[in-house]
């Protein structure tokens, strides 16, 4: 793990140039690509998410680290052979019907990707049918829903109901979040999990899939 210490540090700091150079260096030295991703990049993003949840670092720093990782991935992805990448899990995410807020949802997407999940983002104002249709198509491990308005929160149980009716509720874990959403609400609507911020969303996702 310590072989990528410089890379991990550069990602944690959000130093794009250094991180990209370190990634290239590791590739040139013949390091295993998956290992660069897991032990170099993802471990850095784990640290970033944890520090963010604790209030030690702030949103712009988290975004900068996520962007740094994305730049490194551009070098690594072409080197991965088809089917070789071991995703930590598939996440389908979106802001629920009637709601146009995307900032929180985007932060969660970014941190999920940073943690090695494969994220499919449906965007904003996503009706229950669209969640169901996409879930049937890509068979995600987790369905994540965001709502920033108390008036759009009811679209969450509606989506859960739509998943149930189409017979896939038991095949996915449902996570919810957003300013008016609470852990209590998650229980009431029988979601599997609630996360108050992007860092904890990753931790919760790992817990749900038993990979923490």
């Amino acid at each position: 793990m310590s072989q990528f210490k410089q890379l991990t540090e550069a990602v944690t700091k959000g130093d794009i140039n250094k991180a990209v150079a370190e990634t290239q260096g590791a590739i040139d030295a013949g390091s295993n690509v998956q290992s660069i991703i897991d032990d170099g990049l993802i471990s850095a993003m784990d640290e970033v998410g944890e520090r963010f949840s604790k209030g030690i670092i702030f949103v712009p720093q988290m975004l900068r680290s996520a962007k740094t990782m994305q730049e490194c991935m551009k070098l690594l992805e072409p080197l991965l052979k088809e089917g070789e990448v071991t995703t930590k899990g598939k996440v389908l995410i979106g802001t629920v019907k009637g709601d146009l807020h995307d900032i929180g949802k985007n932060l969660v997407s970014m941190m999920m990707e940073g943690a090695g999940f494969t994220v499919t983002d449906l965007g904003v104002d996503v009706p229950p049918e669209k969640f169901v249709q996409k879930a049937q198509e890509i068979e995600p491990d987790i369905v994540g829903m965001s709502a920033l308005l108390s008036t759009t929160m009811p679209a969450m149980p509606q989506t859960i109901e739509a998943l149930r009716k189409s017979g896939i509720r038991d095949k996915v874990k449902v996570m919810i979040g957003g300013a008016p959403v609470t852990a209590k609400y998650a229980q009431e609507i029988k979601a599997d999990s609630y996360a108050p911020d992007a860092g904890s969303a990753v931790a919760e996702a790992k817990k749900l899939l038993g990979t923490s």
Partner: protein, 265 residues
């Protein structure tokens, strides 16, 4: 500067609990202290009660107006809640808010046309949130047109340019400020209003950022703000900036507030 007192919002724990147990005395106290601190409108929001929102909002309207002789800002994205609350309201309320989102627009336009009221026009487009100055002004202009067509006078329209966090995009502060500036100069007589806390999402020292944003927004023409008027530092910013912009003859309001102990440095 027109102050809309934001404290009576059930997303604040103490307010939510007070509404739950119908503690009128508590709510009246919070209304009274905001009125005394200089609020021109008292905002009421019961959004966290979801399916009981309408009942709770109506109760808040009656409770607050039993205590203070001020118009209220009826704060809900739910047109049904606003339509019910308005029936209980004495005088001319502020409708907070209308936007270009189809359902909300169609449900609320007849309501604002039916009776005299002020309206917060939130610069939210039909299917997306605006990001640039131009997009905000475009949505604002369209809302102003729709409202004035319904007979709402310009002076009663409060355009909210939609404040987004600078932590996510450093251009968001200046985009909102630019929109305030253009809306105020292109529609003389209209008001602009905003909340202050979105701008500082994801950052440390949020209250300091909010205060500085208020000062900047006022210098770009902001004429109203939704804030906590009992926050003495924030009110000191509002009143001192008004004074510095030449809108406080003899510096009277600033000095009065100081002598009444309503502001601190």
């Amino acid at each position: 500067m027109i102050i809309v007192g934001e404290k009576i919002n059930t997303s604040r724990k103490s307010i939510g609990e007070a509404v739950e147990r119908r503690d009128a005395a508590f709510i009246c106290r919070v209304a009274r202290e905001q009125a005394e601190a200089g609020a021109a409108f008292i905002d009421v929001n019961a959004g966290t009660f979801v399916d009981r929102e309408i009942d709770c909002l109506c109760w808040l309207v009656e409770t607050v107006q039993s205590e203070v002789d001020l118009p209220l800002s009826l704060d809900s994205p739910n047109p049904a809640a606003i339509s019910e609350a308005i029936k209980r309201h004495k005088g001319e309320p502020m409708i907070n808010s209308i936007s270009l989102e189809t359902e909300r627009l169609h449900a609320l336009l007849p309501v604002v046309a039916y009776q005299p009221c002020s309206v917060v026009a939130l610069c939210m487009a039909q299917t997306s949130m605006p990001t640039t100055v131009e997009e905000r002004v475009e949505v604002g202009a369209e809302l102003i047109k729709k409202l004035t067509d319904q007979g709402v006078p310009l002076e009663r329209i409060y355009v909210d340019p939609l404040i987004q966090p600078v932590s996510v995009d450093p251009g968001m502060g200046i985009a909102a400020l630019g929109a305030i500036n253009r809306i105020m100069s292109e529609f003389p007589g209209v008001n602009t209003v905003c909340g202050l806390s979105n701008v500082s999402f994801g950052l440390p020292l949020r209250r300091l950022i909010n205060r500085n944003f208020l000062a900047l927004a006022m210098s770009y023409g902001l004429s109203a703000a939704i804030l906590d008027p009992t926050d003495k530092q924030l009110m000191a910013t509002a009143l001192s900036v008004e004074m510095l912009l030449g809108r406080d003859e003899y510096c009277e309001r600033f000095i009065d507030a100081y002598q009444a102990g309503l502001i601190v440095g």
